[in-house]
Symmetry: C2
Subunit: 201 residues, 2 copies
């Protein structure tokens, strides 16, 4: 029986999820695992869970603005904090689900394309024109990103994924589920690695 | 010039701070550093920062109850989640500051004595009689823990420490300051180690 995929929940506006997106595939591959990428909207899960983003608290914001970049350097991942930050990412996420539902690899490539664009080049994912530009770079047809983003099918798909994520216990990103075990945060990398190496601990 | 001590902020009721309390001294010693232990009341910093404890959010609570014990096993630290949890820790903290102000090592020993009692034996630190029992085990005189805990001097001292912690940017525990650089969380251990090994990154 094939080993179960690792569920990887991310939001396109989360620096910690971006950092994790740069190491999860290689880590999984070293252990014969695949990764099931799941774009969600952290803001939507927050409204259900009453949680708020790190950057909504002044002291915590001050800290994480240091820690985002330091954690990226620690992981060897290029990151330049974008402005504006954070941004709304529902359109990028809807395009992700549209692509992923017909070809998971293509969805994953779109995710990495957008995450890198936002976190290394500051491309504003909430801007329709900027997102269309990323679509062109990615080989999508003219107008395709806007058509997907405004299509009720993909709005409903994203909402369904969000609701399922909260139902599965997801309250932040990056969030991983490995063999049913939940791991929250880019900083759970070492624990995930130990789990994959030696099993439950 | 001697290397600067590592500031280590903890709350007697935080499992992550307890886990960190078990590794910070050895890590510091390997790099020729000392540790300045600082008991604070997380609840008091929360009221200033509008943050709330992990366990006040149902989904997050469910996760951290798994993660507390898993993170302890990952660090090789014995931990049995106590009941009740969390508890009020102002009395243990006032005794800490009274002891620490005349002898830092003795304060640190008291901190480790109480943290281990709560997190391995379930001794309720909010219970005056239980705290008096820990005082006896520690060699304090009869009635000394209660006398310190109700003394306005140590109440004021702890309040001052809390205010200074928030002013220094502390919003959670464990919180470390190494050469002016802030690190929040038991899971920043690897980053602290790298900082001590090779300097700023």
């Amino acid at each position: 029986m094939a080993a179960r995929p690792i569920d990887f929940y991310f939001d396109f506006s989360s620096p910690y999820a971006y950092i994790a997106s740069e190491w999860i595939e290689a880590l999984a591959a070293r252990h014969g695992r695949t990764v099931s990428w799941r774009a969600i909207l952290l803001g939507a899960t927050f409204s259900t869970t009453e949680l708020r983003t790190n950057v909504s608290y002044p002291l915590k914001r001050e800290y994480v603005m240091v820690d985002f970049e330091r954690s990226a350097r620690f992981a060897g991942v290029p990151l330049t904090l974008p402005q504006p930050f954070p941004v709304s990412t529902q359109n990028a996420a809807r395009v992700f689900w549209c692509l992923s539902d017909s070809d998971e690899a293509r969805g994953r490539q779109w995710a990495r394309h957008c995450l890198r664009a936002y976190f290394t080049r500051g491309v504003d994912l909430s801007d329709n024109q900027a997102l269309a530009g990323l679509g062109s770079e990615f080989g999508l047809e003219d107008g395709q990103t806007e058509a997907i983003a405004s299509n009720p099918v993909w709005k409903a798909r994203l909402k369904g994924v969000n609701d399922a994520a909260v139902a599965a216990g997801v309250f932040g990103v990056p969030f991983f589920v490995v063999d049913g075990e939940p791991f929250w945060g880019n900083d759970r990398r070492a624990q995930i690695e130990r789990w994959l190496d030696k099993g439950p601990f």
